[in-house]
């Protein structure tokens, strides 16, 4: 550090460059890579052997709320939960005891465009008493989810931004939808969706590809690809500039999100937008840095506007996405809320036309830390590999990602933000004390007007 303080940044950069010979990229080149093969019935098997003593094995299925309609909204999640109730070959108790004897846990989740079930395969037989029980569970989970204000903000944001399309629906389902579900709907859903071409069998840990392929052949090899029902399809995508406010003054703060339409998972601007998102950054009141933070936005908004937290996001679905910021503020002043939005939009406009090479490099490093750190565990990497396969048809190695990240420069970031953010329509969503929510038209002007 002494050398840093005395001789300035230049010498540090040189010394860093000299060590980088054995650095980040080399590790990625040497690191374990995913092997992918396909069974006869179209099921794809992806494994990555990192020699660790633990392994995550799971199935990722292309299903989820974007394939549902108003009357069966919630069916993907209900079916996913039914997996825990045992299968045709094993009862719930058997399943639990067999898994716990090897220390394993069955985990599952459903989002808008996929369901993931780890460790054990999907169920074949469905018992209607168990379905009723699980429906009650989901309805109470739905009530609990309303207490997660930021979760509601993001659900409402989707409902507004993608209104009239299937992406608007929440994976949590809706009360009427869940109540009307029965065993035959579930079975139909399973028959339509849990098909080998829509499934990825993904494993990361101390596993051999050959052994996993044999297992996949044994347990999934008999699934057929014929469709007695209909091939599931999701409607097209349409982004609508709009606003969704849910005012509830009993909530102590204003929770909100503002976003433009982002890009799909495989889009060539996806990485540039994630870099841009990192530039916006995140902050909350418990952070040690405010005036002195290494981000212009944090310096501006952390004081004086009663802001409690903000966080960037850049979500990618298969064919579209959302790029924006979520925030929590006190919600007692229209001026405060408007100023926070202004500063945020100022950063976006800066990104579209004036961001410089140094700023881009900082954001690229921040993205490296976030991206690679989020792939350290077996489960995270297995999910990454599976979603890559589902969305793009192949698994990009981290070296490829590192190389495309390395190539990104200020021009790429400026162009991506100009294309997707500057002067684009916005979707806004507010929950809680939204009386002080900024005027929509004003916000929309702020996407291009510098003097606002």
């Amino acid at each position: 550090m002494l050398s840093v303080a005395r001789t300035g940044v230049a010498s540090v950069k040189n010394s860093v460059r000299s060590v980088s010979a054995l650095a980040t990229r080399d590790v990625l080149v040497k690191g374990p890579h995913a092997e992918v093969s396909e069974l006869k019935n179209g099921l794809r098997v992806s494994t990555e052997n990192n020699g660790r003593p633990t392994t995550t094995v799971g199935v990722w299925i292309e299903t989820g709320s974007r394939y549902e309609n108003e009357s069966n909204n919630g069916v993907s999640r209900l079916l996913e939960h039914m997996v825990h109730k045992g299968t045709g070959k094993r009862s719930e108790a058997q399943l639990e005891s067999e898994l716990s004897s090897i220390g394993a846990k069955l985990v599952s989740e459903t989002s808008r465009d996929h369901t993931a079930i780890f460790v054990q395969s999907a169920s074949q037989d469905l018992d209607s008493a168990a379905i009723e029980g699980e429906k009650k569970h989901l309805l109470s989970a739905l009530e609990e989810a309303e207490e997660d204000h930021m979760g509601v903000v993001m659900d409402n944001l989707h409902a507004a931004a993608f209104q009239g399309t299937s992406l608007a629906r929440s994976p949590l389902g809706n009360t009427n939808g869940i109540k009307s579900l029965d065993a035959s709907t579930l079975k139909q859903w399973q028959a339509d969706h849990y098909r080998p071409v829509r499934m990825i069998f993904s494993a990361v840990g101390g596993v051999e590809h050959g052994k996993l392929t044999q297992l996949a052949e044994k347990y999934f090899g008999d699934l057929s690809n014929s469709y007695p029902g209909q091939i599931p399809h999701s409607d097209g995508v349409r982004f609508t500039g709009s606003e969704f406010r849910f005012r509830n003054d009993n909530v102590p703060h204003m929770y909100g999100a503002i976003a433009v339409e982002g890009v799909g998972h495989g889009h060539h601007d996806a990485l540039a937008l994630r870099v841009a998102s990192q530039f916006v950054g995140q902050w909350d009141v418990t952070h040690g840095s405010s005036y002195n933070a290494p981000s212009k936005l944090v310096q501006q908004v952390s004081h004086g506007y009663n802001l409690h937290a903000f966080q960037n996001f850049s979500l990618n679905y298969k064919d579209t996405g959302l790029f924006g910021v979520q925030f929590i503020c006190k919600g007692d002043s229209l001026d405060d809320a408007t100023s926070i939005a202004r500063w945020l939009q100022h950063e976006w406009k800066h990104l579209s036309s004036a961001v410089d090479e140094e700023e881009v490099n900082r954001s690229k490093n921040a993205l490296r830390t976030q991206l690679y750190q989020a792939l350290e565990t077996n489960t995270q990497k297995a999910a990454f590999n599976a979603k890559e396969l589902l969305h793009t048809g192949g698994v990009r190695s981290l070296v490829d990602i590192e190389d495309s990240l390395e190539k990104l420069d200020k021009t790429a970031v400026r162009e991506a933000v100009s294309r997707h953010v500057y002067d684009r329509d916005i979707a806004a969503s507010g929950v809680g004390r939204t009386e002080a929510w900024p005027n929509y038209a004003n916000l929309r002007y702020g996407m291009s007007w510098w003097k606002l």
Partner: protein
Amino acid sequence: MLSRLSVRAQSSAAAAAPNTLASAFDLRSSRLTSGLSVSSVDLNQPIAHLAIAFRAGSRHQSATEAGFAHRLRNALGGDSRRAKGLTMLWQAGAIGANVHATADRENIILSMSFPRSQASLGASLLSELAQPSLEAWELEDSLDTIKSDVAHLSTYERVSQLLHEAAFRNGPLGQSPLCGPHNTGSVNYRKLQDYAASRLVASECAVVGVNVDHGELQSFFAERAFIQENKNRKEQASSSYHGHGESRREGCSTGVAVAVAGEGPSLGGDAKRLAAGAVAATIAQKVLSSSSVFYQPYSDSGLLGFYVESVADGTTAAKIKDSINKFKTLETSVDESAVQGAKAATKVAILTKADKGAELASSLASSVLSPSRDLHSPSDVAALVDSLSVNDVKEVARLAGARLSLGALGSIRHVPYLDEC
């Protein structure tokens, strides 16, 4: 600078052949002449994690130094004697680093994650950030953060503090790791500087690097880092578990939160007992499925217990009573099959947790500073868990159930007294 929207944590795994990690997990450790210990492991991952830990947590505060550990933690990131805090934070930002400071009852830990190419700059920033100058104006700047930390305390943290007061009374472990609500104002900076001068020193310090070169890290801290040497070492006061104590605070909510615990194994004791504690906790979680079980070993004592938060109504008292009785008789649930299952689950939990480099670095740093100074790799710990007998676990469960302590917050009229259970 802290990343919060990480991928949702999920644990699931199947046990594979043991010892495959042993070769990959090459844990190295060296002690410098200054007393500072440097340990590292290279898992060949792209992100490097560094942690520097000092035995400076709240248990080391004297009666007149309440809240100093919290203030010290929040002052990290300010100026040091040699460099400006602003410059250091911007340099940390330039290499994409997440900087995180935590303070618990034992240690203050400053940790950093960044792309491994930047290791040399990262190490120098970390060592310098960990030696704050604590000038009066620096402390002034962090006053707001102290207040908001206290305001944002979770119910669990508040109840946990009540439990510690009941369990350890006026002993060092009874002190809160954070400032109390009455105690968030300004502080005499000279006293805080004295505290830092006696605690943020080489002999009380451990550095751990994950995914860095051991030789480079060691030579940096041996030759170029400025960690103060110790001048007047204070002996650490010991804290013993009392039990049969209760600390209850009426709150305005309609719910109630209760933490109940008994004496658990300590970090200074036998490593086998420490592992047995983890297995006992796994069994307790299965028995008490509606509460969350916690296991917190300290250097000379420990807690093993459960926490439950619920709406207060007519049935609450009976439910809590039932849980307390189940926990008292935990020993009877410890049999061959329960231990087998719990051992497997504990091993997977230990090994899965070690996959997260940032957590690994902090937890290794804490174990270097524990009295036994044993540094176990996660696979060693897993092997230790494997070697446990039913009696080892039974003994820990018996001790935990023998003398309980209780902390409660909220509608405490719904919480039975321990001697009524």
